[in-house]
Amino acid sequence: MRLWLPEASTTAPEIDYLILALVLISCAVLALVFGLMLLYMFKYRAGSDVDRGALAEKTWRLETGWTVATLVAFFGLFLWGANLYVRLFQPPADALKIYIIAKQWMWKAEHAGGQREINAVHFPVGRPIQLVMTSEDVIHDFSVPAFRIKYDVLPGRYETVWFHSDRPGTYHLFCTQFCGTDHAHMVGDIVAMPQADYQKWLERNGTGETLAAAGKTLFMRYGCSGCHGGNGVGGNQSGSTVRAPPLAGLYGSPVTLTDGRVVTADDRYIRDCILMPDTQRVASYPPVMPSFSGQIGEEDLLDIISYIKSLAPEKPS
């Protein structure tokens, strides 16, 4: 039996401190409640003739006292927990991205170099890792207790978590959102490796084709290049008849939509553009792009996004 859990990520100790504080507060309150209860049970049992005079009649002051005390304590706890939560879901910009696709009942991970693995995620220690996750069927949940992270993986959209581990080792990965018959078997290993080992692992598992390269093939096959141009340079510049926005250098840059919003083109944005172009119209382009919803699988989608990401900004001529 093991009664402790490794703190394998940089945020794990922070969360443990919060839990520890909560445990201490709980113990103090429990000591007070059980202590008073036991004391009164003994002291004021029906048979005892201890003095019961001078009963506190005014309850108002006591009531306000403990109400205010609880409120103040609770507000402090809220701020502490909220601060952690906000940081837990704001990935650093330089994080290494790994893509996760969940389906009944397995985890598929894809690395930028095209390495794919099932029910395991290998990653290097010493740098932040961001997971971009989606599901092919029901809602799953990516949970790594040793990192104290957990987030639902929904169909039809990308969710993201990040972590930073300095301790090489193998940790449990659980699906913690009930997802059907073999929910309990939707488990895997999270393998934190030293940077050099990770490089070796990547090389050993390389397929020769990166995600972006696979995406380029798909970019042609699904006909994206027909409007967006062969290298994603945009319509009208490469002789295409349809005027479509250029995709080179798109990733990470601000985009103005028809309704005036300016958004950053990240994974989610590009995904929505492909599947629901109607909701993400880019200003000053005609709304002609068809929806690819239901026609591109999640894995192909990730490849195409990786390809778009890899397109460097065009040099101004």
Partner: protein, 99 residues
Amino acid sequence: MTRRLRQLLLAWILLMVLLAIEFGASFIPLGRSARPLVLIPAILMVAAVGTLFMQIGREIAVVRLFAAAGLLWLSILLGLGSLDPLTRTDYHVQAANPK
């Protein structure tokens, strides 16, 4: 015709006028997000039916408590319930800076 009947007739006319206003208002060019404003006449109509047909003002006080509770809880459901989709950002929204 009794006073009550005259009151009912006026209420009905008021409702029909509101309906006409609502109908007309739906032809005013409004942005997509402003379209739900055409619900305003509908809310007035609901209030009119409640007070003039259902005569909530004539009943014992607890009835108004029940109706108010229903409305309060409805607003909790719709208000807090739509907090999530209305503030959910699938990607970071930046301040608009037209280039």
